[in-house]
């Protein structure tokens, strides 16, 4: 199998304030890896470093055996890193289908001229993209909403559209930033089901941030624990459960 993603001594600071300090870990091809830790532990920052929204001060990111110190969001997307955002960053004035269609952008090969005149690769590409988007909508049970403007949909459905947009481009690696924040029990169960399906059926390797420890233990193969920007635990869910720092972070210090 081997690692699809490897972080080596990644550090990040904002104007002198350290957000991440020498974080290293590897994510196996085909696995689901959860990032946990208290608020402010640096989980979102880490995700943002992986797809290039933030630039690490030093350290390397190895994706698919290619090493880089600085990722760029566009090249990350084109290399096959898809992501969802904590505060959903959907295109709110676009329909569900249009949102999902934008997720195919990384596969677009037709040029500006082909676009204007709708010639060359444009039409076949357009048909393929639409077919693929419709399939993903069906897969995530979003078809009834396909023509609705996203801004008008309830929160849980919006989160699922965010997933659809990230998933439609066949990403090798999927980054989820709190995909279940603010969801009720039923919505969480749905989302877990979809994440598992994306991992098993669509063969996407997953890195996700989640606070619900029950969900994390049930979903992931591998858990990385962050606290104050440092890695304090790394292992299977069962191993991580026994680490004192994790117990402290989640249950409070033992007196």
């Amino acid at each position: 199998m081997g690692a699809l993603l490897e972080l080596v001594d990644v550090s990040l600071s904002f104007k002198g304030i350290r957000a991440l300090t020498d974080v290293s870990f590897a994510v196996e091809q085909g696995s689901i890896c959860a990032l946990i830790g208290p608020n402010g532990a640096g989980k979102s920052s880490l995700l943002n470093v992986i797809n290039g929204v933030y630039r690490a001060d030093h350290g390397d990111i190895v994706f698919d055996r290619r090493r880089a110190t600085v990722m760029h969001p566009l090249s990350a997307a084109r290399a096959g890193i898809g992501r969802t955002f904590q505060h959903s960053a959907l295109f709110k004035n676009l329909s569900v289908l249009d949102n999902v269609l934008t997720g195919m952008s990384r596969h677009a090969r037709s040029t500006f001229v082909e676009n204007i005149f709708r010639v060359g690769r444009y039409s076949s590409e357009d048909r393929a993209f639409r077919r693929k988007s419709e399939r993903i909508l069906e897969f995530l049970e979003l078809s009834p909403f396909r023509d609705t403007v996203v801004g008008k949909l309830p929160y849980g459905i919006q989160k699922r559209v965010d997933l659809a947009r990230a998933l439609v481009g066949d990403p090798r690696l999927l980054l989820f930033d709190e995909p279940m924040a603010g969801m009720n029990h039923g919505e969480k169960a749905d989302m877990s089901r979809f994440i598992l399906a994306a991992n098993r059926e669509l063969k996407a390797t997953v890195v996700l941030i989640e606070h619900d420890i029950g969900v994390v233990m049930g979903l992931s193969h591998h858990v990385v624990v962050l606290d104050h920007g440092r890695k304090v635990g790394d292992g299977t869910p069962d191993e991580v459960r026994r680490i004192p720092e994790v117990i402290t972070a989640y249950l409070g210090p033992i007196h």
């Binding site: 959907l90 004035n93 204007i116 357009d126 993209f129």
Partner: protein
């Protein structure tokens, strides 16, 4: 009755020109988030370059092609050198940058090409055409037809192709657009290149109507009420807004003019825009902000 019709048709013809200019603003606003005040100076720069080349005995087609290359280059350079470094700054900052830029472009254009009024001859003999007992200016008709064709092509391109989809996505959330793999830089170049092209067409059409002179830059001030009425983010809105302004100001000139001593068309659009700001601030087709509380 036929006089009323003539006024309305005249207004519609002028309105298509307003629509064309306004579309240039909408595209830039959606892509870069800026109200591009320099658009007016681009219109002047295009018209001046064209007439200067023609005065130097260039054939009109060659002059047009050379001007087109210049305008597209200048527009793309503005985005790359001025607006891109200001990305993520507030709208006011972007606006001020384009305002400053408009002085630079106007100054340079007039420095190199002079500030005398030039005549621009598109080779159209401006004799009125009679439709029944309605008289229509041939030049206005051709200008309006050209503008209308361009408007239709642009709105098709930006509504129905994937570049259009990318543009609408970027207008909503540039960061997310980048993260799904939309090539922002390509999109910026396309939009700004189109803006340069629109400035050229608008410069030639306006220049032919009223002579190439400094007042061409004032089209920005006419575009503003058009955008307020139609909505800053809607191509369809720019079209309808342009027509509304064109028709209403020529009607106002005829029916309101005699009561207040004329020149109503100079200010009527602003009164209309103010009324819209009070009643419907997002414009006819603008995107109403959806806020969850």
């Amino acid at each position: 009755m036929s006089f009323l019709l003539e006024t309305i048709i005249g207004g519609l013809l002028v309105g298509t020109l307003y629509s064309l200019v306004a579309i240039g603003f909408v595209l830039v606003y959606k892509a870069s988030g800026a109200f591009n005040y320099a658009q007016g100076s681009l219109v002047l720069c295009a018209a001046l370059t064209f007439v200067t080349l023609v005065d130097k005995a260039w054939p009109p087609l060659a002059a047009g092609a050379a001007t087109l290359v210049l305008m597209v280059t200048v527009a793309i350079a503005i985005e790359r050198l001025v607006l891109r470094p200001l990305i993520n700054q507030s709208q006011v900052t972007l606006f001020m940058a384009t305002l400053g830029l408009s002085f630079i472009i106007e100054g340079l254009s007039q420095f190199f090409m002079g500030s005398t009024v030039h005549e621009l001859d598109l080779g159209v003999v401006d004799l009125p055409i009679a439709l029944g007992d309605i008289l229509i200016s041939r030049l206005d008709l051709i200008a309006a037809a050209t503008a209308a064709i361009l408007v239709v092509v642009l709105s098709f391109f930006f509504n129905r192709t994937r570049i259009g989809l990318a543009l609408r996505a970027v207008a909503d959330d540039p960061q997310a657009a980048l993260s799904v793999g939309i090539r922002l830089n390509t999109l910026y170049r396309v939009v700004w290149g189109v803006t340069g092209f629109v400035a050229l067409v608008a410069g030639l059409l306006w220049g032919a109507r009223q002579g190439v002179q400094f007042s061409l830059t004032l089209v920005v001030l006419k575009a503003l009420p058009v955008l307020i009425i139609g909505g800053f983010t809607s191509i369809g809105g720019a079209i309808v807004g342009g027509l509304i302004v064109g028709v209403s100001e020529s009607l106002a000139e005829i029916y309101l003019g005699p009561l207040v001593g004329g020149s109503v068309s100079n200010w009527f659009a602003y009164v209309l825009a103010t009324a819209f700001l009070l009643a419907r601030p997002e414009g006819l087709f603008g995107e109403r902000a959806i806020n969850r509380v």
